[in-house]
Point group: C2
Chain length 213, copies 2
């Protein structure tokens, strides 16, 4: 093969339409109705969701304040991708849709109920379903929402979205979230050295000072 | 909060422009110049890359055949995201760009050199750099290329992109790729039960029959 002379500029993809498109999806997201937890209805589909906190836990007072008049700043943003996406990047198939998004929100609902210092009635949920080829947007929209809002449980307080560790993985540390909100069985089995509560509370303070002053 | 009546249709985001935009990026990708390995030049940026195989390893004969006249079907597709993306979803910053993409391709180059039964001269590489807000497209474009080409080392033969397992993770099994191409130090330390070579070769055969008959 003849060596092609290297020119970095030939390898840069530029398209401003993409950023606009993502903004459109974010605007749509922020305009969808908010629901109480637990969600009452069964529905199919994968997509992106946000959880909002409006309760009286003193460490999250800033969030309750920010969300006093509208659901403005989520405490957590997540995604549920179509079955087969993680391995083979299979897009959503309208004919074989499953309950990915609802199941994920339900799992979070259970963890909120279990976690010390939290009351499910203080949480609300927004979600958007992406279907067929649109499901390829899911990761991008989730990432954009996280960048935009810096949700506390996606950043300063890590671990809310964790599952039971796989076999032999219990040498990892208990997550910040599990230190804050005791109750999950698997967290107590983690043998690693967790952050102490004081450090986490300082991180929370610094987080709000930086992102939501 | 008054309960908003649930209507699934209100939660579905539709926008055909997205699929078109991703196709445009894929077309651009397939039109970029192909380079030999190792890459000679240093360059900054994050993005998506593909590796192509045109050698004489009998198990990969179908790939050499498919790529005889043009670099048509990659053996592996991957991405390098901007620093900070995995945690905080920070987009590419033109002022603090690093060599993510080149470093990742260099790591692959080393593994190809180490791996038994592979000759670096039989590989070629395509890559596209996504800058600034465009870097939010990286995961989507990578996913689309994987769906489109079903690269062998992303699917039937798993493990090429693995790093040294974290502390205490050596109870996992050696990857398919490491069974096929012995040589990586960390692979020999994995104590889990790996697939035997015969099974992997059958998977390769089935893969080509199904995706590139």
């Amino acid at each position: 093969m003849a060596r092609h002379p290297f020119d970095r500029a030939e390898h840069i993809y530029k398209n401003d339409a993409f950023a606009e498109l993502v903004k459109d999806a974010v605007r749509f997201f922020n305009g969808t109705p908010v629901h109480e937890l637990p969600l009452q209805e069964r529905f199919t589909g994968s997509g992106v969701y946000a959880l909002y906190y409006t309760g009286s836990n003193p460490h999250y007072a800033r969030l309750a304040d920010l969300n006093r008049l509208s659901y403005a700043v989520p405490i957590y943003v997540g995604k549920a991708v179509p079955r087969g996406w993680r391995q083979a990047r299979v897009s959503d198939n309208l004919l074989t849709q499953s309950n990915e998004l609802q199941n994920r929100i339900r799992e979070h609902t259970r963890n909120i109920v279990i976690g010390d210092g939290l009351d499910l009635a203080d949480f609300a949920c927004r979600f958007v379903i992406f279907e067929a080829e649109g499901s390829d947007m899911i990761s991008t929209v989730e990432a954009t929402l996280i960048k935009l809002f810096r949700p506390l449980w996606n950043s300063a307080v890590d671990g809310f979205g964790n599952h039971t560790p796989g076999a032999g993985r219990f040498d990892q540390a208990k997550s910040d979230w599990d230190v804050m909100h005791k109750g999950r069985d698997f967290a107590d089995k983690c043998r690693g050295i967790a952050k102490d509560l004081d450090t986490i509370l300082k991180n929370i303070e610094a987080h709000f000072k930086r992102h939501h002053p």
